[in-house]
C-alpha cells in the first residue's frame, strides 16, 4: 500500500501531519502527548517497583483546576487506563483533592461547572472537594498557632463560622507578600492533613518547571531557603508525607500546548488570569514578582530558569532530625546545621519568640516582627 502523502510529517511517527513544535521537534498531537507523558512517568517510576499483585501506593493529587494540575491528572489517568487495559502493573492509586478555589482567592470566578466536568471526565477516581477554611477541622491545633502568630491582630471568636474565623486571621496579615506566604503555608498544611487522613503516603504536586523556578526564587527571597528541599525538591516533607513534583521537566508553555490538544480538559481548566500591567512593583507579592521574572527571563533564557529547580533539587535535605521546627510551617527553627551566619541572631534581638521559623517571622503582622 502506498504511504500517505503528507505535507509536513511528524518527526517521530512520520505517519501524521505535525501539529505542534516542542523543543525544536515537530510532532503530531499523539506523539506530543506521548513525549509529555513520558517525562512525567519517568519521574513516577519509583512507584512501579511492585508487580501486578504488589501493594499499591496511595497518592494524593491536589487539583487547583488550573492548567498544570489538570494536565498532570490527565496524564496519570491516561497512563493508568492504558496499563489496566494491557494487564500491566500500575503500582499506585491516586485520589483527587480540590480545595474550592473561591475560598482561596476572591476572584469571583465560578468553578462549579469545572468541578462537574472533572467528575464527569474522570469518574474512576475518588474526588474530594473541601473549602480552605476546613483547615480548622483537619488541623484543629492551627487555631492556637494562628492566635500566637498574629498576636493582638487576630481575635478568634469560636462562635463564628470557620469561614469567618479564617477570614479574620487572613485579614490580620498586612502585606500581599505575607498574605500569599501564609496562605501557601496553610494550604500546604491542609492538603498534608487531608493526605494523612486519607491514608496517602505521597502528594504529587502539579508544579511545572517554570512554577518551581518561581517558587524556589520566591522561597529564597522570603528567607525560606532551607525548606526548598521539600518545597521544590522531591523528598520527604516534615510531616512524614513525601512530596513529588513530576512536572519538573516540563515548562508551563508545554503544558498549555498539551491542554490545547486535550478535549477532556477544555471544560475542566479555569484559564489563568493574565497578569495586570497596571500594578506598581511595590504592590506585588514576592511570589507574583518571581512568576513574572521567570516568565519574562524564561522567554529569553529558558535553560537558565530550568537551572533553578534543578539546582534546588540537588540540595541535601537537612540532617537535623529531632531539631525543633516551626509551629506554623514545620521548617527548621534557627539556622540549618553548618550555617554559622548571624542573620538569625540579629532577628532574635527584635523578637524573643522561638516558636516560628525565620520565614514565618518575616510574614508576621508588622508590630510583631
Amino acid at each position: 500500500m502506498p504511504a500517505k502523502e503528507l505535507n509536513k510529517p511528524c518527526m517521530e511517527c512520520k505517519d501524521a501531519e505535525f501539529e505542534l513544535t516542542v523543543r525544536k521537534r515537530q510532532l503530531c498531537s499523539l506523539c506530543f502527548k506521548r513525549f509529555i507523558a513520558h517525562k512525567v512517568q519517568s519521574r513516577l517510576s519509583v512507584y512501579r517497583a511492585f508487580g501486578l499483585d504488589g501493594p499499591k501506593t496511595q497518592l494524593l493529587l491536589p487539583v487547583s483546576l488550573g492548567v498544570s494540575s489538570s494536565v498532570l491528572l490527565h496524564i496519570l489517568n491516561t497512563d493508568r487506563q492504558h496499563r489496566l487495559d494491557n494487564g500491566r502493573p500500575v503500582g499506585y492509586d491516586f485520589k483527587i483533592l480540590v480545595i474550592e478555589p473561591s475560598t482561596v482567592a476572591a476572584t469571583g470566578i465560578p468553578f462549579d461547572q469545572n468541578y462537574e466536568a472533572l467528575q464527569k471526565n474522570f469518574p474512576m477516581h475518588t474526588i474530594s472537594r473541601i473549602p480552605f477554611h476546613s483547615i480548622f477541622d483537619y488541623a484543629p491545633e492551627m487555631v492556637g498557632i494562628m492566635k500566637e502568630y498574629a498576636g493582638s491582630k487576630f481575635i478568634d471568636d469560636s462562635t463564628r463560622s470557620n469561614e469567618e474565623r479564617l477570614a479574620a486571621f487572613r485579614a490580620s496579615i498586612s502585606t500581599p507578600t505575607s498574605r500569599t506566604d501564609v496562605d501557601t503555608v496553610l494550604l500546604t498544611r491542609l492538603i498534608v492533613e487531608f493526605a494523612k487522613k486519607s491514608g496517602c503516603e505521597s502528594i504529587i504536586w502539579g508544579d511545572s518547571d517554570s512554577r518551581l523556578a518561581a517558587k524556589a526564587l520566591a522561597g529564597v527571597a522570603k528567607g525560606r531557603g532551607s525548606s526548598l528541599t521539600w518545597q521544590v525538591s522531591d523528598g520527604m516533607s516534615p510531616w512524614g508525607v513525601r512530596f513529588e513534583y513530576p512536572l519538573r521537566d516540563l515548562y508551563k508553555a508545554e503544558l498549555l500546548q498539551y491542554e490545547s490538544v486535550c478535549a477532556e480538559l477544555s471544560d475542566v481548566v479555569i484559564p489563568d488570569q493574565p497578569p495586570s500591567e497596571n500594578v506598581l512593583t511595590k504592590n506585588l507579592s514576592i511570589d507574583e514578582l518571581m512568576l513574572r521574572y521567570v516568565q519574562n527571563q524564561g522567554a529569553k533564557y529558558p535553560g537558565v530558569m530550568a537551572n533553578v529547580a534543578r539546582t534546588a533539587n540537588k540540595l541535601n535535605p537537612s540532617a537535623s532530625d529531632g531539631a525543633p521546627t516551626c509551629a506554623l510551617c514545620a521548617s527548621l527553627l534557627g539556622n540549618v546545621k553548618g550555617n554559622s551566619g548571624v542573620t538569625v541572631a540579629n532577628q532574635a534581638e527584635d523578637n524573643h519568640s522561638s516558636q516560628f521559623c525565620y520565614g514565618c517571622m518575616r510574614s508576621r503582622p508588622d508590630e510583631l516582627c
Binding site: 522570603k222 514578582l289 542573620t343
Partner: protein, 341 residues
C-alpha cells in the same frame, strides 16, 4: 509638620529612614547603629585576632571607603589591635581606575594607612583596556572579576599579609546567591555566602565584614560621615543577565525591605545543604591558585588572550609560546613569593 524624633534616642530630630527596617533615626544614632552592627558581625563571626595584619581591598568606591572608615573607627573604639593597610588593584582602565586610585591615595592619607597598588599589567601582562580591545565589551567583566580575585590575594602575599577584607555588601551577597541559583552553580552556592572564604584552601583568608550591611545604608553612612569616595561606574558595560538579577533584588527590596537579608539567610542555609562532593576544591596545575578545575579560570582566560594577541603588540621579541609562558612565569614568581611568606 512637626519634626519626627529619632526612634533610638527619642531626642534628636530624625533625618534618616533606615532602608533595612524603616526606623527613623538621627544622624548620630544611624552612624552609631551602623558601626555597632558591623562590630557585632565581626565579633559574632570571630573575624579577626589581636595583632592581625589586615589588607583592605580598596577601589576608591563607596563600599571599600566605608569599610576602611568603619574598620579604622572600630579598631580604635574596641581596641581590636589590628594593623590595617590599603591594597588597590589597578585594572588598567583609563578614565576610570586612574581617577579612583587618586581617591584611594587620598584615603590612605586621611586614614593614615599604608597603601600598595598592584597592576593587572604587572601580574598578567594585560591591562583591562587591552583585554577589551581584544575581546570587546561583551563578557569583559568575566576577565576583570577573575583577575581581580587572584590579584588581591597575590598583592596581600607580596605584603606578607594573610587576611584581605573586601567591601562586599548584603546586596552583593544576595545578588550572588540569586546568580548562583540561576546558573546552577552548586560549588559557588556553597561558598558564596560565607563571611570568610579561602581559609582552608589558600594561604590568604578573605572576608566581607559588610556582608549584612545594605548598599543604601553604606551610601547613607558615607554621605553623613562625608567620606571621600569615587562614584563613577566602570566605563565597560556590565553583564546583561547579572543586571537582570540586580534589578530583581532592587524590586524585591521595594516590596519587602528585609528581602536582601532574607536572601542572605537563605543562601547561608542552602550553602550548608550543598552535597559535599560539589564542594571539592583543587589547585590549578599551573599557578597553584584554588580552582574547581585542573586549570584555574585565570590561566584559561590568559591562554585565550595570549593565543590571540596581535603580533604587532609583541615588541619585546618573544614568540607566542614564550610570551604565554612569560606571563605564567610571572605568576609562578608570585607563587614563589606566596609560599615564601
Amino acid at each position: 509638620m512637626a519634626p519626627t524624633a529619632c526612634f533610638n534616642c527619642k531626642e534628636a530630630r530624625a533625618v534618616i529612614i533606615r532602608p533595612k527596617n524603616r526606623h527613623k533615626l538621627c544622624r548620630a544614632c544611624f552612624i552609631k547603629i551602623f558601626e555597632t552592627e558591623v562590630h557585632e558581625t565581626i565579633i559574632g563571626t570571630n573575624l579577626f585576632f589581636p595583632g592581625e595584619r589586615v589588607a583592605i581591598g580598596a577601589s576608591g568606591g563607596k563600599d571599600s571607603t566605608v569599610l576602611a572608615a568603619v574598620l579604622k573607627t572600630l579598631n580604635e573604639r574596641y581596641d581590636y589591635g589590628l594593623d590595617l593597610c590599603l591594597l588597590s588593584i589597578d585594572e588598567g582602565i583609563r578614565g576610570y581606575r586612574d581617577d579612583s586610585l587618586e581617591t584611594v591615595k587620598r584615603n590612605a592619607v586621611q586614614y593614615d594607612m599604608p597603601l600598595d597598588i598592584l597592576g593587572y599589567s604587572e601580574l598578567y601582562g594585560w591591562t583591562m583596556d587591552q583585554v577589551v580591545e581584544q575581546v570587546g565589551k561583551k563578557g569583559n567583566c568575566t576577565y576583570c572579576g577573575v583577575f581581580r580575585r587572584q590579584a588581591l590575594d597575590r598583592g596581600a602575599a607580596r605584603l606578607g599579609i594573610r587576611h584581605v577584607v573586601t567591601g562586599h555588601n548584603a546586596d552583593d551577597v544576595a545578588e550572588t546567591v540569586m546568580m548562583n541559583l540561576l546558573r546552577g552553580d552548586l560549588p559557588r552556592l556553597s561558598r558564596g555566602t560565607s563571611i570568610v572564604t579561602g581559609s582552608d584552601a589558600s594561604d590568604i583568608k578573605r572576608s566581607k565584614p559588610l556582608k549584612y550591611a545594605y548598599e543604601k545604608e553604606i551610601v547613607l553612612y558615607a554621605h553623613h560621615r562625608q567620606l571621600d569616595y569615587f562614584t563613577t561606574e566602570c566605563i565597560y558595560s556590565p553583564e546583561a543577565f547579572r543586571g537582570s538579577a540586580r534589578t530583581l533584588i532592587k524590586d524585591l527590596e521595594k516590596i519587602r525591605p528585609s528581602s536582601i537579608l532574607d536572601i542572605v539567610k537563605s543562601g547561608e542555609d542552602m550553602a550548608a545543604l550543598v552535597p559535599v562532593e560539589a564542594q571539592t576544591i583543587k589547585h590549578c596545575e599551573r599557578c597553584n591558585y584554588i580552582s574547581s578545575q585542573r586549570i584555574c579560570k585565570a590561566c584559561t582566560l590568559l591562554d585565550g588572550l595570549n593565543r590571540n594577541r596581535p603580533k604587532t603588540a609583541i615588541e619585546v621579541g618573544v614568540g607566542m609560546e614564550d610570551e604565554e609562558s612569560s606571563s605564567t612565569l610571572m605568576r609562578q614568581m608570585e607563587r614563589a613569593q606566596l609560599s615564601a611568606t
